[in-house]
């Protein structure tokens, strides 16, 4: 059996590759029911009014790109649409790690549609304010004391939309993308409603905050992103990935069942024969 295991591994890996490749080779439109949480997420962003400012902490690591970036790209473009149509203001910032800076910078420079918007008036990118929870606390308490310039090095005193932003009280809502703990955002920003785009595996972690309505809406990984892309009519990478996720999960369930059939059908029965 032990000599056979590497062969089993190879077979499992090959079948895994095969199952996740199917949706890319033969594009089939698998059903995608929209979760109420994603509907709520869109509703909250849609309900932002003229003059409302939303701040988003883009604190994901590069390894989480495949899972969180599609949701971020869709969300930020939708917020920018609200800026264009309603005069909402958007502040983007990263606090976590140098890797998060690279992650946020890539999205900011390559994936956002800022057509018709003026930088510094409708939206601003503050770059990296190192310190994670300390930075979150600083921005919430006294923003001008901790943020001196934006991403381009322009003093915030010269950025029109930053003139009225001094602390958490000046923001209508905050959002965060995280590939680690959601707790620091709750500790420092729970005074205002929070929304999040988070790894599907971390959903359990935020549920106590969702129940208490501290986090008012969330996107759950690639699935949430795909649902959101569908809702806003902007088909992106999450929609392409979601079918592969479906086939991968079905394959995982099949493996679990196969493992137990094998165990009860062969291994245990053989063990009983030996005992007798």
């Amino acid at each position: 059996m032990s000599a056979m295991l590497p062969k089993v591994d190879r077979l499992i890996f090959l079948l895994f590759l095969f199952f996740i490749a199917i949706p890319f080779i033969l594009p089939v439109a698998l059903p995608l029911p929209i979760s109420p949480t994603t509907l709520k997420y869109k509703e909250i962003l849609e309900n932002l009014r003229k003059g409302d400012t939303i701040i988003w902490f883009v604190d994901a690591m590069i390894g989480a790109w495949a899972e969180t970036a599609p949701g971020d790209i869709a969300t930020f473009n939708f917020i920018l649409e609200q800026c264009r149509e309603k005069g909402v203001k958007f502040v983007m910032v990263t606090t976590f790690h140098a890797e998060s800076l690279a992650y946020a910078e890539t999205i900011f420079k390559n994936y956002l549609n800022t057509e018709g918007l003026t930088y510094g008036v409708d939206y601003v990118y503050l770059g990296w304010i190192p310190g994670y929870e300390s930075a979150l606390a600083g921005i919430a308490g006294n923003l001008p004391a901790i943020v001196k310039t934006d991403y381009y090095g322009t003093p915030i005193s010269q950025i029109p939309m930053m003139q009225n932003l001094h602390s958490i009280d000046d923001f209508a809502i905050s959002g965060f993308t995280s590939s680690t703990s959601p707790d620091p955002y709750i500790r420092q920003w729970s005074k205002k409603p929070i929304i999040t785009n988070i790894l599907a595996a971390n959903i359990g972690w935020i549920m106590p905050y969702v129940e208490k309505r501290i986090i008012v809406a969330y996107l759950a990984g690639v699935r949430g992103a795909a649902e959101f892309e569908y809702l806003i009519g902007r088909i992106g990478s999450a929609t392409k990935l979601i079918s592969a996720q479906s086939t991968a999960h079905i394959y995982a369930v099949a493996l679990l069942i196969a493992a137990n059939i094998y165990y009860f059908g062969f291994v245990r029965r053989r063990g009983e024969v030996i005992k007798k």
Partner: protein, 204 residues
Amino acid sequence: MSFIRRIEIPIMIFVIFSLLILFNYFTGMAYEAASTVISWAPILWILSYIVGYVSMIRYHVIIIHKKQKDWIYSIIVLVCFIITFLLGQLYKPAFDFVFMHILLPLQVSMLSYVGFYTYTVFFRGARTRNIYALFLLVTAIIIMLWQAPATSAIIPSVVPISIWIRDVLQTGAIRAILIGIGLGIILIFIRTMFGYERSYVGGE
């Protein structure tokens, strides 16, 4: 000089600034002073990066100098570090290329590698040897069927069961963990304030 190296100095700094921030938090007074202290955090964070870089360079230079085992990898680390650092400072488009086409695929590959091994674990490890394993297996299957949008559309009955598992079983357990973490943070803070917790200044 020996006075400055005393362990009581950093503990005193910690206590004074912690009390200042707590005082501001509970009374709203000394706002400017507390804000100033918090605004030092990014500077300290950056300094910690510099300390990390110096330590990393020193570590690898020693390995190369003594030609210790696998010293060639230390050369690769240093060369990559220097190239990336210089690109970030001197030529942004090339740095973006390194990020998008080298670092990003490598990081995602590392995670995917773990994903492949998870699938072998499904086959090798997930065997129902007792009743607890059966509970775990059934829960895992239900949650996975729910998380796959196609199956949750075809078998809608998995949705309410999964939501119940998430909202009742999982949230209950997570809430207990969060309360435990909160109590732990308070306890560590009190121990640090009284000087019992000294690991952050190199004590025991």
